[in-house]
């Protein structure tokens, strides 16, 4: 991802070049909407929430400066904060790899020049489009409920089901399944990537007598590591921010026993149920730091396993 990007941004800007006022003016006029939006809706709020995170603020009275109290309370004493972190990490660490493996697996099968590829691709992609909606979360509640679809099907095989949504042991798993179910969008990206792998490499390998397993590990896998990496970063960032399904499935509480208390949900509860806006802002900053950390970690680790090959 990175190398492609920098390769491209580099080309137009020649070092040491002076910009004329006219160029600046034209450029900034075109950039103006984005620039205003960036300052008003992104940068400003980020800084404001940094400030708020050091205050006590209930939306009705003025913010009151409390120093690092919120951070201290969060990191050392708030058991629900720890719980929401652990729920979110469990969710990210299980759902993202599963989702990517399924996506890659199906993409590999589809990439073998299978007939009806557009059909399969479309059908597999469909859940990715619908999955984030309230309607699907509602559906999920019914599928995994006590009288739900899953238990009805299990009953056909003579298996007595349980309430998957109602038990803290399984409630989170249903949300992981919901996420993995949306493997279509990384799959489409994998498919686009697999198309780039030059056929000549396989032909050469065939001549050398390599079997398909060897071909996969020696050719396909290394060549698609950049795509894998891109998907990994993208899916991780979005998984960290999951909200709607947990909200709908637990009625906005994180129940049962906080087993679906996603980090986003806990921020919402603190901010908009208990009106601890400063506290919620501190939580948001911690999330920002966590995501930045993981993204940097991802990029750092990528040197060891992502194979960029030569730019073409």
């Amino acid at each position: 991802m990175q190398s492609t990007l920098t390769a491209r941004t580099d080309q137009p800007v020649k070092s040491g070049r002076k910009f004329t006022l006219r160029q600046d003016l034209t450029g900034y006029i075109f950039l103006l909407p984005w620039l205003i939006g960036f300052v008003v809706f992104t940068l400003g709020p980020i800084l404001a929430s940094l400030y708020l995170s050091f205050t006590n603020y209930d939306l009705m009275t003025m913010p009151e400066w409390v120093g690092i109290f919120n951070y201290n309370r969060l990191l050392t004493r708030d058991a629900r904060f720890a719980q929401s972190m652990s729920v979110t990490f469990t969710f990210v660490v299980t759902s993202v790899p599963l989702q990517l493996i399924v996506a890659l697996g199906i993409a590999l099968v589809l990439n073998r020049g299978i007939r009806g590829l557009p059909w399969y691709r479309a059908l597999f992609y469909l859940p990715s489009l619908l999955g984030g909606s309230v309607a699907i979360a509602i559906l999920w509640r019914q599928v995994f409920g006590n009288d739900g679809l899953l238990n009805q099907i299990l009953l056909i095989f003579g298996i007595e089901g349980q309430s998957w949504i109602g038990s803290p042991d399984t409630a989170l798993s249903t949300l992981i399944v919901l996420r993995v179910w949306q493997f279509g969008s990384p799959m489409v990206i994998f498919l686009a990537g697999l198309k780039q792998v030059p056929q000549s490499l396989y032909e050469a390998a065939n001549i050398d007598g390599a079997n398909s397993v060897q071909q996969f590990f020696k050719i396909t896998l290394p060549l698609i590591t950049p795509i894998f990496f891109f998907n990994l970063v993208l899916q991780m960032i979005s998984a960290f921010q999951a909200f709607t399904p947990a909200y709908i499935i637990s009625d906005g509480t994180g129940a049962p026993a906080d087993s679906t208390l996603f980090y986003s949900l806990y921020i919402y509860i603190q901010g908009f149920r208990y009106f601890r806006m400063g506290y919620a802002a501190a939580m948001a900053w911690i999330m920002l730091i966590v995501i930045v950390f993981f993204t940097i970690l991802n990029f750092g680790l990528s040197r060891f396993w992502v194979f960029y090959g030569d730019e073409d």
Binding site: M1, T9, P12, V13, Q23, T26, G27, L31, P33, W34, G37, F38, I46, A48, S49, I106, R112, G113, I114, R115, Y120, R121, A122, F124, Y125, L126, P127, L129, L130, S133, V134, A135, I138, L139, R141, Q142, D147, G148, L149, Q152, V188, I189, A192, G193, Q196, Y202, E203, P226, I227, F240, Q241, T244, Y247, I248, M277, A280, A284, M287, L288, V292
Partner: protein, 285 residues
């Protein structure tokens, strides 16, 4: 070449197990959706009795009754959702393209810094801006208007769309710009006459994704809209769940099914652009 052909030939008889597997996977994946649709067509009593898809009798009463079950008919919620979605789509398309052009084609000071900042917002968790934005909109008296939901889209706040357009515009041959410049066209003319029309595929992708994401959006609508007459489809569905008995689950499924139709339509007609859009941002294009 010969090797390749032999390989595919020898595979043809073996192909049916793959198809079988894929079809099976598709059915499993889509079963919950099919169950939802079929349940919405079943009489109330039948939904939780069987996991089968074929209703004993086909009834549309769930749709008719569900539409008005919240006293304010769903017509209002669909109008609200469509207003928000259409205005957002227009905003995203116009400003993402404009910004994309600035980043891809124009030269100005600090461009690289702005560009990296823009890329960074791709991975910015929404939580960080959540509370201050709410406070800001509250101060502006914008709560219970659609403004907090549509105004940001006129400022290219969705980095994904900007990035998509930057990537696409970079792929448009510079010769066209230069030829126009020789003819005396200024930057605006170039954007208007060349870049904007030529980046239509990227704009369509932007429009489609912007439609789908705004349609599915829940949290910001939940925060900013809390009067019945302003509710959108997702908010109305959520209220449906909390206010109704299980005996009206057929209606709930009916309304959930309807809520998917706009997305489904976009999906059917815009599939090509969705896939291309993903591939464009998915690098190595």
């Amino acid at each position: 070449m010969t090797v390749q052909r032999n390989r595919s030939l020898s595979l043809i008889p073996k192909r049916w197990p793959i198809h079988l597997m894929l079809i099976l996977a598709t059915v499993i994946m889509l079963y919950p959706l099919l169950w939802m649709v079929s349940s919405s067509l079943k009489p109330e009593t039948e939904i939780f009795e069987s996991s089968g898809l074929i209703p004993s009798q086909l009834t549309f009463s769930n749709y008719v009754n569900g539409w008005t079950a919240l006293q304010t008919p769903f017509t209002r919620f669909y109008i609200n959702s469509f207003i928000i979605v259409i205005v957002s789509v227009i905003g995203n398309v116009l400003t993402s393209s404009l910004t994309g052009y600035a980043f891809a084609r124009l030269e100005f000071r600090f461009k690289r810094i702005w560009f990296s900042l823009m890329l960074m917002t791709l991975m910015l968790p929404f939580h960080v801006t959540l509370v201050p934005r709410y406070i800001m909109f509250n101060e502006l008296d914008w709560i219970n208007t659609f403004l907090p939901l549509v105004v940001p889209s006129f400022m290219a706040t969705q980095a994904f769309f900007v990035f998509l357009n930057v990537q696409f515009i970079r792929g448009i041959p510079r010769d066209l710009d230069e030829a126009a410049a020789v003819d005396g066209a200024n930057k605006w003319d170039i954007f208007r006459r060349i870049i904007f029309p030529l980046s239509m595929p990227a704009l369509i992708t932007t429009a489609i994704f912007s439609f789908i994401w705004t349609w599915n959006d829940f949290l910001s609508q939940l925060l900013y809209l809390n009067k019945t007459e302003l509710l959108t489809v997702p908010l109305a569905l959520r209220q449906f769940v909390s206010a109704m008995d299980q005996s009206s689950f057929g209606q709930l499924f009916a309304m959930s099914t309807l809520a998917q139709i706009p997305i489904l339509l976009f999906f059917v007609f815009g599939q090509k652009y969705i896939v291309e859009g993903i591939a464009t941002t998915g690098f190595k294009g």
